[in-house]
């Protein structure tokens, strides 16, 4: 696949990633192969056990090329950081400068919920948003992908053949247009190309 031609004229400003059952190794690989410095902020919402507050971030951080942060409310957004939705809070993008948290009810049985994060990011970044939905065993994220598409964003799901649980990406595929299906090892390539293009201001 020629990522350069796909990425032409796309002025992305942020990346959102959602994942659930079966996504841990994929997300680890993505983080491990990120180019340095990575110019776009990354927002991640990954399902996990409700009171597993500690440990998850650290596990992701072991191989990650960039810093991972579980933000406090109203944290200022910076480049080269991957923000991880903290346990038991929804993480929302308040505006292009800051993050908001909320403890509102579960969405799709989840808090943090991918839908909540995706929808808020879509409102803020519109057509400058890149969304990636990975393996998962529930339907969280599908509505969010639809909102992102309707707001002009770019939608990627993990190639269904490579998902250990297809429910989540498949749910998105059923209700909205998906721009690309990528295998786990293609996602870092895609992001590297993207980063390279932005750094060289080809975009």
């Amino acid at each position: 696949m020629n990522f350069e031609s796909i990425l032409k004229n796309k002025k992305f400003e942020a990346i959102v990633i959602g994942g659930s059952a079966g996504s841990f190794t994929v997300i680890t690989q993505i983080l491990a192969e990120l180019p340095q410095p990575f110019v776009l902020p990354i927002f991640m919402c990954l399902h996990r056990l409700k009171d597993k507050r500690e440990g998850f971030k650290e596990a992701l951080e072991i191989k990650s090329k960039i810093k991972i942060e579980e933000p406090d409310d109203k944290t200022l957004i910076q480049q080269n950081i991957a923000y991880l939705a903290p346990a038991n809070y929804h993480m929302l993008i308040e505006n292009k400068k800051m993050i908001s948290l909320a403890t509102t009810e579960l969405v799709q049985f989840s808090r943090p919920s991918i839908d909540v994060m995706f929808e808020s990011a879509a409102d803020v970044y519109r057509d400058k948003l890149l969304a990636i939905l990975l393996s998962g065993a529930n339907k969280d994220g599908a509505d969010g992908m639809r909102t992102i598409k309707e707001r002009g964003g770019f939608t990627i799901i993990q190639d269904l053949n490579t998902c250990s649980m297809i429910t989540m990406p498949e749910a998105a595929l059923k209700i909205t247009h998906i721009d690309l299906q990528l295998k786990p090892n293609q996602i870092p390539d895609f992001l590297r190309t993207l980063n390279h293009l932005i750094l060289n201001e080809v975009l």
Binding site: D72, T75, L76, P86, L101, T104, T147, R151, I178
Partner: protein, 281 residues
């Protein structure tokens, strides 16, 4: 090819939110204009769905012409989720780092700002009681929402949360059992009213009302996350004015005052549990 679901997604623009909050402010004096847009938008969408309204304009109409609907609307959009001993490690830290200082005073004042249905009030009262200083405390518990205040004053919580609250309690490693403090009545955990003997429940809007008393300890947890930065700054001023010098301010686990304008007027007592102390006037 995908199938577009029948149900349309309603996209709300920022201007529409402003129109709505302006209308509410003009008619009712409630200031939602400085709530964090991202979560406020979600609440509004939820309300539109709940009442089958197709647009913000329809919602504004209904709010302006039906005061009783507006009351319900306030209930719907304010987030009341709370727990007993929410963040058990926070209560542990209170016990270790704050209580010993309060205990040296002949009497002290506590404010639960945005107390919701009162789980936090009872939780702290239990701790104060165990430390033998409950009778020295004068406690205010306030909220913007009259309905939750009424519930709070009953000191009774649904039994469906019983196991969860027991688990939280166990994590605090406080002595005894939570069940030492309540009996089951009509499907509710009815807490000993003695715990709220010194508590005044009172309506107070953090966005609009001024300070009304001075306190040694303020808990203002998990409400400011629903405010934008401008309103947060105003509320921090209000809380600062409401504290005695060396008084304690406790925020929610994921709230922070490092970005607020008057951050330098506080020192950090426990950064993980978000306990701060007023050091400058």
């Amino acid at each position: 090819m995908f199938n577009r679901p029948d149900e349309e997604i309603i996209h709300i623009e920022l201007e529409e939110i402003t129109k709505l909050t302006d209308a509410i402010f003009t008619k009712y004096g409630y200031d939602f204009g400085n709530y964090a847009v991202s979560s406020f938008k979600r609440r509004i969408l939820m309300v539109l769905k709940k009442y089958g309204l197709k647009s913000i304009d329809k919602l504004i109409q209904k709010i302006l012409f039906e005061p009783s609907f507006f009351e319900q609307f306030v209930l719907d959009i304010t987030v009341n989720t709370t727990e007993m001993f929410r963040d058990p490690t926070f209560y542990k830290a209170l016990k270790q780092q704050v209580i010993p200082i309060l205990a040296t005073k002949p009497e002290f004042n506590v404010w639960h700002a945005a107390c919701s249905t009162g789980e936090e009030v009872i939780s702290l009262a239990i701790l104060l009681d165990q430390e033998g200083i409950l009778n020295k405390a004068k406690i205010y518990a306030t909220d913007i929402n009259h309905v939750v205040l009424q519930k709070a004053a009953s000191a009774a919580f649904p039994v469906r949360n019983l196991d969860f609250y027991h688990e939280n309690y166990a994590k605090t490693e406080f002595p005894g059992q939570l069940s030492d403090y309540y009996t089951i009545e009509n499907g509710m955990m009815q807490f000993d009213k003695r715990l709220i003997q010194n508590v005044k429940f009172k309506h107070h809007d953090l966005a609009r009302d001024v300070h009304f008393y001075k306190f040694d300890l303020i808990l203002c947890r998990n409400v400011m996350i629903y405010f934008n930065q401008e309103l947060q700054n105003r509320v921090f001023e209000l809380l600062h004015n409401s504290l005695f010098m060396n008084g304690f301010l406790c925020l929610g686990a994921k709230e922070s005052l490092i970005w607020c304008k008057i951050a330098d007027k506080f020192e950090t007592v426990n950064s993980h549990e978000k306990i701060f102390r007023k050091i400058k006037s």
